[in-house]
């Protein structure tokens, strides 16, 4: 009987345009759109930054090693105009009103300092809201400083290499897969969880509040089917809808990479292809299934209690933030899956998925996370049943 209810509700749900848009269309499109947007914006930003001609104002002697260093700079370091300024006040004014991207003050006593082998302190001004200008100013000044240092070593007949006492080589022991898993791996489960929730939302409201509003629940309750059977049949559809939305998000990711070729970095491509394996997908769904049942279990009592579609929507929509917030915590660096975090719902799924992507997931922690989610899902089913059984909740 549960199967019959499930199949009917599934058919009914799949014929609802609003649910289909939320459950299939948006999740499929989100990855291609986000990736496309990211690639377009970042490539145009990089292009703009390289092409942009910066105006650099300076106060001080044009013959000083600082300004001379700027003039010697290779063209590959970006196009620039050097503009002399009579005083610091006018220079600062122009940096503030964006007429200049950078301002340099060369002290009047630079020659004295050079002669006495002391360091010359230069002031560099920039507006950090102009993205990328700080890095550009830093690279220019590093070039100028190195050029002046080389000249000083030369004038002193010194070998620069003799002053390098310790040379450090930094070696990363994490594989590329682990790096992606730990750093960016949280984004994927976050998206799956968010869509899992959204996917559950409309069917939950439609199958419970909607039935109440349309008056169909009354006829269903007069059939010789128990309320528990009705609840489980409907709940399975709600949970499946959440899983379907998460699956569609996964399909969207696959399409972005394999069909639309939105990622052209070979390293990232091979890592993502390595992630999209049957074993990863099975493990992911093992975690997402109890999560969507839990989501369904949280939404159903609200949907049963609400008197109208609008009322249910207005309560469940803010709940989205409450539920997805722990998923965002999982994105933070330093938060790892351990015996404590494995017991916190939603966070455990995010962290376990991250570890899964990185290939560092411990089976005990996976089982613990799964166990916690299954327990919560069962509690959610029980709570839903209690609410669904209340006479005042099921008929208007």
């Amino acid at each position: 009987m549960i199967l019959k209810i499930f199949l009917k509700e599934l058919k009914d749900t799949l014929r609802d345009k609003r649910t289909l848009i939320m459950m299939v269309v948006i999740p499929v499109l989100v990855f291609p759109i986000v990736l496309n947007l990211f690639v377009t914006v970042s490539s145009s930003f990089e292009k703009d930054a390289a092409m942009q001609r910066v105006k650099i104002g300076f106060v001080g002697d044009a013959q000083s090693p600082v300004i001379a260093g700027f003039l010697e700079m290779p063209a590959a370091m970006g196009k620039k105009d050097l503009i002399p300024y009579p005083n610091e006040k006018a220079l600062l004014q122009d940096v503030k009103n964006d007429s200049l991207q950078m301002g340099i003050i060369v002290p009047d006593n630079y020659q004295e300092k050079m002669d006495s082998m002391e360091a010359v302190t230069c002031e560099v001004y920039y507006d950090a809201t102009d993205l990328g200008i700080k890095d550009r100013a830093k690279s220019y000044m590093e070039y100028v400083e190195k050029s002046a240092r080389d000249k000083r070593y030369k004038s002193m007949n010194l070998d620069e290499t003799k002053f390098q006492v310790i040379l450090t080589n930094y070696n990363n022991t994490a594989s590329d897969k682990e790096m992606i898993g730990k750093l960016a791996g949280g984004i994927l489960p976050y998206i799956f969880i968010a869509f899992g929730f959204i996917g559950c939302m409309y069917p939950a409201i439609d199958l419970f509040t909607g039935e109440k509003e349309r008056g169909t629940i009354e006829t269903l309750l007069t059939t010789p089917v128990s309320r528990l059977q009705i609840l489980i049949g409907k709940m399975c559809v709600v949970a499946l809808s959440g899983l379907l939305a998460a699956t569609c998000a996964l399909v969207g990711l696959y399409l972005s990479i394999e069909v639309f070729n939105l990622v052209d970095n070979e390293e990232i491509l091979s890592i993502v292809r390595g992630i999209l394996t049957p074993s990863f997908i099975i493990m992911l769904f093992l975690l997402l299934f109890p999560l969507t049942v839990f989501f369904a279990g949280v939404m159903i009592p609200i949907a049963v209690y609400a008197k109208s579609f609008k009322e249910a929507q207005s309560i469940i929509t803010p709940l989205n933030i409450v539920m997805v917030l722990p998923a965002m915590i999982g994105l933070l660096p330093g938060i790892e899956l351990n015996y404590m975090t494995a017991c916190i719902p939603v966070i455990n799924v995010v962290l376990a998925t991250k570890e899964l992507i990185a290939g560092t997931l411990e089976p005990v922690l996976l089982l613990l996370s799964f166990g916690i989610m299954v327990t919560l899902a069962m509690i959610a089913v029980f709570v839903s049943y209690r609410h669904f059984g209340k006479e005042t909740n099921i008929v208007m």
Binding site: T219, P224, V395
Partner: protein
């Protein structure tokens, strides 16, 4: 047969409801100790003004609500202790019943037949008979959401009858319907009676009651004011019309309560 004994239904009143109803009572008594019997092959009408307790009684008969106390017997089955078996014997139709708009009449009728565990062979025979009788063949594969009110009502009737119930509960079945659709329902109620089924229907349309009923009960504020045959009611009526007599009884009850 339907046998109702000392039926009572209380609803807890939360703070919001207490405020809305301007009362400090913690419970509201919707149905207060009522008893009646409906015989097979006869039509029993439950009359009463809005808020009298008709719908609550009908919902208890169809096992949607559980009585606070009292007993209901449906075709020999105790509907309070064995509601699931009782439900197999009941067909329930209201004027406000919704249908699944995204299903076709064919799919909906099959779904309910499955829920009532009707065998495939019985389903085929009954479906054919009901679809012919209600002239539903032309729109059996159209989505219900695209059907007219009259067509929808036919689908509702078909859904109520697909498991061939012994007892049929009609809760204000013609409310809000046009004359032609209402006539279909009236004719169905008459057919049910002729088939020897037990029929109970609640209404506040006196002409329907006058036309159809063999027995009737009047409820007001959850209490039973009259229970007997239509013949007996007519022979004792003090006013010229059924409507006027009904109003008199209600006013008399109100005056007695004050």
């Amino acid at each position: 047969m339907i046998k109702v004994e000392n039926l009572r239904k209380e609803f807890p009143l939360g703070r919001t409801l207490q405020k809305e109803l301007a009362t400090k009572e913690k419970i509201a008594v919707a149905v207060d100790n009522i008893s009646f019997q409906c015989q097979p092959g006869r039509i029993f009408s439950l009359l009463g003004p809005n808020g009298a307790g008709k719908t609550t009684t009908m919902r208890m008969l169809s096992t949607i609500f559980k009585p606070t106390s009292g007993n209901i017997e449906i075709a020999g089955i105790n509907a309070v202790t064995n509601s699931r078996d009782a439900r197999r014997k009941i067909g329930f139709l209201t004027g406000s019943t919704g249908l699944y708009a995204r299903l076709t009449p064919n799919e909906l009728i099959k779904y309910f037949a499955d829920l009532y565990e009707v065998s495939d062979a019985d389903f085929k025979i009954r479906k054919e008979k009901l679809f012919d009788l209600l002239d539903m063949n032309d729109f059996q594969n159209k989505r219900i959401g695209k059907l007219s009110t009259g067509m929808k009502q036919k689908v509702s009737i078909c859904r109520t009858m697909i498991h061939d119930p012994e007892v049929i509960v009609f809760d204000e079945p013609t409310s809000g319907l046009d004359v032609i659709t209402a006539e279909n329902i009236i004719s169905l109620i008459r057919d049910c009676k002729n088939d020897g089924k037990t029929v109970i229907f609640s209404s506040h349309i006196m002409s329907e009651v006058d036309l159809l009923c063999d027995d009737m009960a009047i409820v007001h504020k959850g209490k039973l004011l009259y229970n007997g045959t239509m013949e007996n009611f007519r022979s004792n009526q003090q006013e010229s019309s059924l409507t006027a007599e009904f109003i008199r009884i209600i006013h008399e009850s109100n005056a007695a309560t004050v």
